[in-house]
C-alpha cells in the first residue's frame, strides 16, 4: 500500500524533521544509498506494442515478475528492451497496476485469459480494486460453475467404460435414462405408473352414483374398491421394486437413503404398507385415512422425470432467505393488523372478530387481496384500518417476489445453456478428435513416404538423392517426427492408424491359428487415451473377458507355426519377452513388425509381439509400454 505512494516517501521523511526537537533518544543512521539509482526508462515490448515506464515504477512491487530480477530473463540484447510474448491488451492493465497501485479488471476480457496473465506476471488477483472486484469474482464463479458442469456431464456421458459391474450398470441406467434402451423403457414405465397412481387417487374421491342399499351418494373409491385396490397394489409394487433396485445399485447406500428423492419414494409407498397392517382395526382407521393423504407425495416422484421441477425446487432452496424474510414480515404485519382490527371492532355488536387469532384470518385474506367477505369490519375505525391493511399487504408481498423470480430465471437460463452446451459438445468433440487424428496421421504419412532415416548410411544415401524428391518439411515437424521415431525405437513398437489397427484386430481374432501376417500392427501410444477407449469399446464386440488394465497378463505358449523369417525373429524375441511381463500395467497393444515399405528397418523393425488377450487364444500376451 505504501508502495503506491512511493513517490511521496521523500516528503514523509522530510516531514520527520518535525519530530527531531521532541525526540527522546538519538535517531538511527539512515540507510546507505548503495548506488544512486538513475531513474531510467525501461522499454517493455509486449508482442510489438512498446510500453515504457520508469524503472522505479516497476520496482515498487519487488515480488512480481517485472519488479524483480526475473525480468532479466526476458531482456533482449539486440534491441535493449524487455520482450514479452504475451497479450498487449491485458498487459496494459498490469502495467497500470504498477503505475497507480490499483489493478482493474476489464469486462470484455475472458476471465481465464486474464487469470493466466496475472499468474504469469506474478500478481495475485486479490488486489483487484473494489471497483472491479465484484465483477471479477462473479465471472470467475460463473466460469468455475460452467467447468464443473462440463466435468459432471463428461463423467456422465463420455466415459463409457466397458468393465462395469452389474451394479454400476444398473445405477447408470437409473441416473441416465438415455444410456440404454432398457433404461429408457424403465423410465417411461415408472412415469406412466406414477401418473396412473396419482389419477387413481384423484378419481377415487369422485362421487359415482348411488348404491342400491344406501341413500347417500357414494364415491368411486367405495364403489369399485377392489379395482382401485388392485391398481394401488400394482403401482406400489412397481415403486417398491424400483426403490429396492435403486438401493441395491446405489454406490453409496447411506448417501442414497439420505437424499430427498429416496425420502419421497419411501413416503409415497409407506401408507400402503401401513394400511395393509392396519385395516382391521376400526379405531385406527381414522389415522389410516390421514395416512392416505401421503399418497399424494407420489406426484413428487415426477421430479426425476422433469428438469423444470427440479429447477423450481432448487430455486426455492436457494431463495430460502428471501422466502424466510417474506414469511417473517408477513407474520409481523398479520399480528399487528389483527390486533388493531380486534380492538377496533371490539365495540361493534355481533362482530365476527371474537379474538385476535380470529382476526388473523381476516388479516391474511385482506393482505393477500383475496377478500372472501366472510369477515368484514363494521365500524368506521375498523374500515379505515382494514383499508390500510390491504394496501400494505400488496407492498409487503410484492417486495421479495422479484428476487425469487429473478433467481428462478437465472437458474433456468443456466440450465438451458447447459443443455445447449451438452448438445453442442458432441459435435465439438467429434471435430476436435478429427483434428487430432489428422495430426497423428501426419506422422504415418511421413513414415510411409520412406522419410524415416534410421542409420547413418541411410542418411548419407538420402542426402545423396535429390532433395527435390522430398517435400521440405518445417523444422518443427521434422523434429517432432524424429521424436516420435525415437519413441518407437525405445519401445520397440510402431505407430499405426486406427483403421489398420482395427483391421488387424479382426484379422487376429479371425485367424489366430494362421501365421501369416499381411499388414503390420502396431501400438499407438500416441493416441493412447482415445485409441484405448475406442479399442475397449470395440473389444466388447469381440467378447473379451473383462480384464482390468492392472492385471498381469497370463502367458500362454504360442502354438503358431513359424512360417517366415520375420515370424521366426518374432519367435526368438518372444522367448526373451517374458521377462517384461512383470510390469504392473498392461495396455493391450498390438505391435508392428516393420512396415513393409521401409527397407531400412530390416533388423530393428521387428518388435515384440504383444497381442491382446483372448479367452480362447493361445497367443503369448506380453505387457508392453
Amino acid at each position: 500500500m505504501a508502495a503506491g505512494v512511493a513517490a511521496w516517501l521523500p516528503f514523509a521523511r522530510a516531514a520527520a524533521i518535525g519530530w527531531m526537537p521532541v525526540a527522546s533518544t538519538p535517531m538511527p543512521i539512515p540507510p546507505q544509498e548503495k548506488r544512486k539509482a538513475q531513474d531510467g526508462l525501461i522499454i517493455l515490448n509486449v508482442s510489438g506494442t512498446k510500453f515504457q515506464t520508469w524503472r522505479n515504477t516497476l520496482e515498487r512491487y519487488p515480488d512480481t515478475l517485472l519488479g524483480s530480477t526475473e525480468r532479466d530473463f526476458f531482456f533482449h540484447e539486440e534491441t535493449n528492451e524487455y520482450f514479452f510474448d504475451r497479450d498487449p491488451d491485458i498487459f496494459r492493465h498490469i502495467l497500470n497496476f504498477y503505475r497507480t497501485g490499483k489493478l482493474h479488471y476489464p469486462r470484455q476480457e475472458c476471465i481465464s485469459a486474464y487469470d493466466e496473465e496475472l499468474a504469469f506476471f506474478g500478481i495475485i488477483p486479490e488486489i483487484i480494486g473494489d471497483c472491479c472486484y465484484e465483477e471479477y469474482k462473479d465471472r470467475r464463479r460463473e466460469n468455475a460453475e460452467r467447468l464443473q458442469d462440463d466435468e459432471d456431464t463428461d463423467m456422465n456421458n463420455d466415459v463409457t467404460p466397458v468393465n462395469l459391474t452389474f451394479r454400476e450398470y444398473l445405477w447408470r441406467a437409473f441416473e441416465n435414462p438415455h444410456s440404454s434402451t432398457l433404461a429408457l423403457v424403465f423410465y417411461y414405465v415408472t412415469g406412466f405408473f406414477i401418473a396412473i397412481s396419482v389419477m387413481a387417487n384423484v378419481v377415487e374421491t369422485v362421487p359415482c352414483g348411488f348404491l342400491p342399499n344406501r341413500s347417500k351418494e357414494v364415491s368411486c373409491g367405495e364403489r369399485y374398491a377392489l379395482a382401485f385396490f388392485c391398481l394401488d397394489t400394482a403401482c406400489v409394487m412397481i415403486f417398491t421394486v424400483e426403490y429396492l433396485l435403486r438401493l441395491i445399485a446405489a454406490p453409496s447406500r447411506y448417501k442414497f437413503m439420505k437424499s430427498v428423492m429416496s425420502v419421497i419414494d419411501v413416503v409415497a409407498i409407506m401408507p400402503y404398507y401401513i394400511g395393509l397392517v392396519m385395516t382391521d382395526n376400526d379405531q385406527l382407521s381414522g389415522a389410516f385415512v390421514t395416512l392416505r393423504v401421503f399418497r399424494v407425495f407420489r406426484i413428487f416422484k415426477f421430479s426425476r422425470h422433469s428438469a423444470g421441477l427440479r429447477i423450481l425446487g432448487y430455486t426455492l432452496k436457494s431463495c430460502a432467505s428471501e422466502l424466510g424474510f417474506l414469511l417473517f414480515s408477513l407474520t409481523m404485519a398479520i399480528i399487528i393488523f389483527a390486533t388493531v382490527m380486534f380492538y377496533a371492532e371490539k365495540g361493534s355488536p355481533a362482530s365476527k372478530f371474537t379474538s385476535i387469532p380470529a382476526a388473523f384470518w381476516y388479516t391474511i385474506v385482506t393482505m393477500t387481496t383475496l377478500g372472501y367477505g366472510d369477515m368484514v369490519p363494521k365500524t368506521i375505525v375498523g374500515k379505515v384500518f382494514g383499508s390500510i391493511c390491504s394496501l400494505s399487504g400488496v407492498l409487503v408481498i410484492a417486495l421479495p417476489v422479484p428476487v425469487i423470480v429473478s433467481n428462478f430465471s437465472r437458474i433456468y437460463h443456466q440450465s438451458q445453456r447447459a443443455e445447449k452446451r451438452r448438445a453442442q459438445r458432441k459435435t465439438r468433440l467429434a471435430r476436435i478428435r478429427a483434428a487430432k487424428i489428422r495430426g497423428t496421421n501426419a506422422y504415418m504419412r511421413y513414415k510411409q513416404n520412406g522419410l524415416l532415416i534410421d542409420t547413418l548410411e541411410e542418411a548419407s544415401k538420402e542426402a545423396g538423392q535429390a532433395l527435390v524428391a522430398k517435400p521440405p518439411s518445417p523444422p518443427f515437424e521434422s523434429q517432432h517426427h524424429h521424436l516420435l521415431h525415437c519413441l518407437e525405437k525405445t519401445t520397440n513398437h510402431e505407430f499405426v492408424d486406427e483403421q489398420t489397427f482395427q483391421a488387424n484386430c479382426m484379422e487376429i481374432s479371425a485367424m489366430h491359428k494362421s501365421g501369416s501376417r499381411s499388414s503390420s500392427l502396431s501400438s499407438s501410444p500416441h493416441g493412447l487415451s482415445s485409441c484405448c477407449s475406442r479399442r475397449h469399446r470395440k473389444k466388447s464386440s469381440f467378447s473379451l473377458p473383462s480384464t482390468n488394465n492392472q492385471e498381469l497378463s497370463t502367458i500362454q505358449i504360442r502354438e503358431r507355426p513359424v512360417v517366415n523369417s520375420r515370424s521366426s525373429l518374432n519367435a526368438k524375441l518372444d522367448e526373451t519377452v517374458p521377462l517384461k511381463c512383470n510390469e504392473p500395467f498392461i495396455t493391450p497393444s498390438m505391435v508392428s513388425l516393420s512396415a513393409p515399405v521401409v527397407t531400412s528397418s530390416d533388423g530393428d523393425g521387428s518388435t515384440t509381439a504383444t497381442t491382446t488377450a483372448y479367452s480362447q487364444s493361445n497367443i503369448v500376451r506380453v505387457s508392453a509400454l
Binding site: W8, G18, P21, R99, M332, I336, L395
Partner: protein, 215 residues
C-alpha cells in the same frame, strides 16, 4: 408496514449523502492548478531540475488536479504509518505546509517546504519546526500546543508498543521538553529560545542533518 416506512426513510438518507458527495466532487474537478515553470521553481528552491521532475511526477500521480486537500494529504501520510492514527499529525503538517492557509497545498508550497526541510540551513529548519509546533501562529508555543503535537506523534505509534504506552507519556514528554526549552520559565517558548536550546543540543543538531540526501 413499519418495514415499508423504514425502507423509505433509509432511501431519503441515501439521497442526501449522494448529493453531498456529488457537490464535493464537482468542486474538486473544477480546481486544476498548474505550477510555475521549472526554471522559476529551480530558482525558488534548492533543488535541481531532475529532482523537481521526480517530485512533481510523484505529486501529480497522487493528486491529478494539481492541489492536495487535507483529506488526500491525510490519506497519503497515513499510508506510511499503518500501525497507528497519523491523521492528527498530518493535520498539523498540512497547516504547516499550507503557508497561505488556503485549505489546499499547491506544488509550489509543497516544494518550498521540502526545500527548506531537506536543503535549508539549520536555522531555517528550526524555524519551520517552530512554525509546525505553533498551532495558532501567535509566535509562542505553550504547553497545550506542545501536548497536542506530542500526543499526535504518539498516536502514530498505535496501540501495540513496547513498553506499553501510558496515558501520561505525552505529558511527561512535554514537561521534559519545556524543562529544556523554556529558558526564562514563563510557560511559553519563543522562537529564539527554541533555536538557542536546539543549537545547544548535540542530538538535535545531528538528527537535523539526517535527511540531507533524501531525494
Amino acid at each position: 408496514m413499519g418495514l415499508v416506512m423504514g425502507t423509505f426513510s433509509m432511501q431519503s438518507k441515501q439521497v442526501n449523502y449522494h448529493k453531498d458527495k456529488a457537490d464535493d466532487d464537482l468542486e474538486m474537478t473544477m480546481v486544476c492548478h498548474r505550477p510555475e515553470g521549472l526554471d522559476q521553481l529551480e530558482a525558488l528552491t534548492n533543488f535541481n531540475k531532475r529532482e523537481l521532475q521526480v517530485l512533481y511526477r510523484g505529486f501529480k500521480n497522487e493528486c491529478p488536479s494539481g492541489v492536495v486537500n487535507e483529506e488526500t494529504f491525510k490519506q497519503i501520510y497515513s499510508q506510511f504509518f499503518p500501525h497507528g492514527d497519523a491523521s492528527t499529525y498530518a493535520h498539523y503538517l498540512f497547516n504547516a505546509f499550507d503557508t497561505a492557509q488556503s485549505g489546499s497545498i499547491k506544488f509550489e508550497d509543497f516544494v518550498t517546504a521540502l526545500s527548506t526541510l531537506l536543503r535549508g540551513s539549520i536555522t531555517e529548519k528550526l524555524q519551520w519546526t517552530f512554525n509546525l509546533y505553533d498551532i495558532n501562529r501567535d509566535g509562542y508555543i505553550n504547553k497545550e500546543e506542545m501536548t497536542d503535537i506530542v500526543r499526535a506523534i504518539y498516536d502514530m505509534m498505535g496501540k501495540y508498543t513496547y513498553p506499553v504506552l501510558k496515558n501520561d507519556a505525552p505529558k511527561q514528554h512535554v514537561d521534559a521538553f519545556f524543562q529544556k526549552m523554556d529558558k526564562n520559565r514563563d510557560g511559553v517558548v519563543t522562537l529564539d529560545e527554541f533555536i538557542l536550546s536546539c543549537q545547544e543540543d548535540e542530538n538535535i543538531m545531528r538528527s537535523l542533518q539526517l535527511f540531507e540526501n533524501v531525494i
